[in-house]
Amino acid sequence: MNSVFVICEIDEGKIADVSLELLTKGRTLSNTLGCKLEAVVLGHKLNGVEEELFPYGADVVHIGDDKRLDPYTTLPHTSVITGLFENEKPQIGLLGATPLGRDLGPRVSSALKSGLTADCTALEIGDHEDKKEKKSYKNLLYQIRPAFGGNIVATIINPDCRPQMATVREGVMKKEIYSPTHKGEVKTIDVNKFIKPEDTVVKVIERHMEKGRVNIKNSSVIVSGGYGMGSKENFEALYELADVLGAEVGASRAAVDAGFAPHDRQVGQTGVTVRPKLYIACGISGQIQHTAGMEESAMVIAINNDSAAPINKVADYVITGDVMDIIPKMIKSYKKNSK
């Protein structure tokens, strides 16, 4: 039975969270299908990287270690993955919907003529009956994603071409250790077989990356602000509340677009998906693209001066009033009661 493959990404010298999330999901899929889960890592100086992957259930780790694979550029990575997939014939190939995954995925799927579904929020195994062609398919990958600005959810399938490829955003799937003692096999990719001289024509001349990205996804309490916060200065009140509560600050897209908060704090369909214990939405109207990224929070408090704001529908507690008036009261109350 052909395997499920996860193309892993390296972030600051470690396997990126989104790749571990995909391995966790991939493990479930391969258990359902009764096949192996295989991981691919490309880069340079990858010694020991397999140890990070085995606990998440990888049965095989393919490693391509070469100077030409770091920093990432499209063509050498495409050639290696395409070549590997042509040999290994995975039934499923998954990538993170990161800048890298969304650069590499389409290129590989085009080369393999395999089709690719972007930004899936759920992956399931199921059957399909094609009534017109009178064909039935068993155990296809249901690639489930929001479409049309999040107003509908579509299930996409890929009946005839392999691999069935999909990208998934960071934070959408849960990351879970499969077994701390799980071990698999390491296979070294002979990259010279795949990388062509003309693959290295694109050169990275300069690169400035910020270190230590904010990671709102792993925070158990999130204080999130929207356009209703009014200004970047007012957003400071949220940082203060977050600081007191031991929380992280999130934001809506309108707040990010207005420059109140940086993009890596954006929650929602085109930001990160979060499911904290508590989500406090301050001055956020609650459009579907925002709620798509936070509705699984265990508890939601909505603070809005409009008592009919849509966010109230997904909230456990609604406080109607001015955020700038309410936040200081919360800070004061928490300081008093937490002692």
Binding site: T74, I152, T155, L245, N312, K329
Partner: protein, 290 residues
């Protein structure tokens, strides 16, 4: 030496205003039910192309769009802002295309245009949010790609230098020409329509749009060939029919559902200190906080 630049632009339904009848029973989009707009990031792409045209004298910007007849609006919009001409690729054979079949059809049209230096696309279209067509066109044409471009610094001596915007930083890359560049929404906004160009191209039409026009209009187009918007069907480009439309699309839509919210039991509080204090105490007591 001037550059030959192609801008890929898509007419998209304005997904910010979607009603119930947005999808047809076969799972494809019911475009008729929605307002059609110029895909926002394709506007950023157009601006980059126009800047190159200003910088390198003798350059030519051609807008290429694949879509139904009314997508000619996109080309006119581009002409009003400074593009030199446009191609509408339209045929029933392209209907139902996924990104792979779309990229294939677009790459066939570009092959017909020939000797292209740069293909600029938007990063992604707001109807599907896939960001696949740019890279897949590059693959079909066997060209390098530079995605998430924020600024094209230069395109000379067979090389393009581009600033890319990534999640957490920026990168400056150099690629050989010809190549495909996809432009990010964080790139400069497109210039507005120019009044002079609006006057000039107001009556630009495709051959289908000209069908019901008066004799006078047709004479006008004869005198002013720039009023012709090229319209190509599947017969005008060299294609392998198996790679087009639904049959050339490996991905199929199995099911479409409207998003429904699970109703929650909501407690409404006032903004007075007492109410807020009660809530915070409760959250501390049940260990949600602290």
């Amino acid at each position: 030496m001037g550059l030959k630049i192609i801008v890929l632009a898509k007419q998209v339904p304005d997904t910010r205003n979607v009603g119930k009848d947005a999808m047809k029973a076969d799972g494809t989009v019911n475009r008729a039910a929605l307002e059609a707009i110029f895909n926002p990031e394709d506007m950023n792409a157009l601006e980059q192309a126009l800047r190159l045209k200003e910088k390198y004298k003798g350059s030519k910007v051609t807008l290429l769009t694949m879509g139904p007849g009314r997508a000619a609006d996109i080309i006119r919009e581009g002409l009003f802002r400074g593009a030199d001409d446009g191609v509408l690729l339209t045929d029933r054979a392209f209907a139902g295309s996924d990104t792979l079949a779309t990229s294939y059809a677009i790459s066939c049209a570009i092959n017909k245009i020939k000797e292209v230096d740069i293909i600029v696309a938007g990063r992604q279209a707001i109807d599907g949010d896939t960001a696949q067509v740019g890279p897949q066109v590059a693959d079909k044409m066997n060209l390098p790609q530079v995605t998430y471009a924020e600024e094209i610094y230069s395109a000379e001596k067979g090389k393009i230098v581009v600033k890319r915007r990534l999640d957490r930083g920026v990168e400056k890359v150099e690629a050989p020409l010809p190549c495909v560049v996809t432009v990010n929404g964080s790139a400069p906004a497109c210039r507005p329509r120019a009044a002079k160009l609006l006057m000039k191209y107001k009556h630009a039409k495709t051959i289908s749009e000209r069908q019901n026009e008066s004799e006078d209009y047709l004479n006008l187009v004869n005198d002013r060939p720039y009023l012709n918007i090229n319209e190509w069907t599947v017969n005008d480009v060299e294609t392998d029919d198996n790679m087009l439309g639904l049959s050339g699309s490996p991905t199929k839509v199995k099911k479409i559902e409207n998003v429904v919210f699970q109703a929650k039991e909501t407690k409404v509080l006032s903004d007075n200190e007492g109410d807020i204090d009660e809530l915070i105490k409760e959250l501390i007591d049940n260990h949600t906080l602290g």
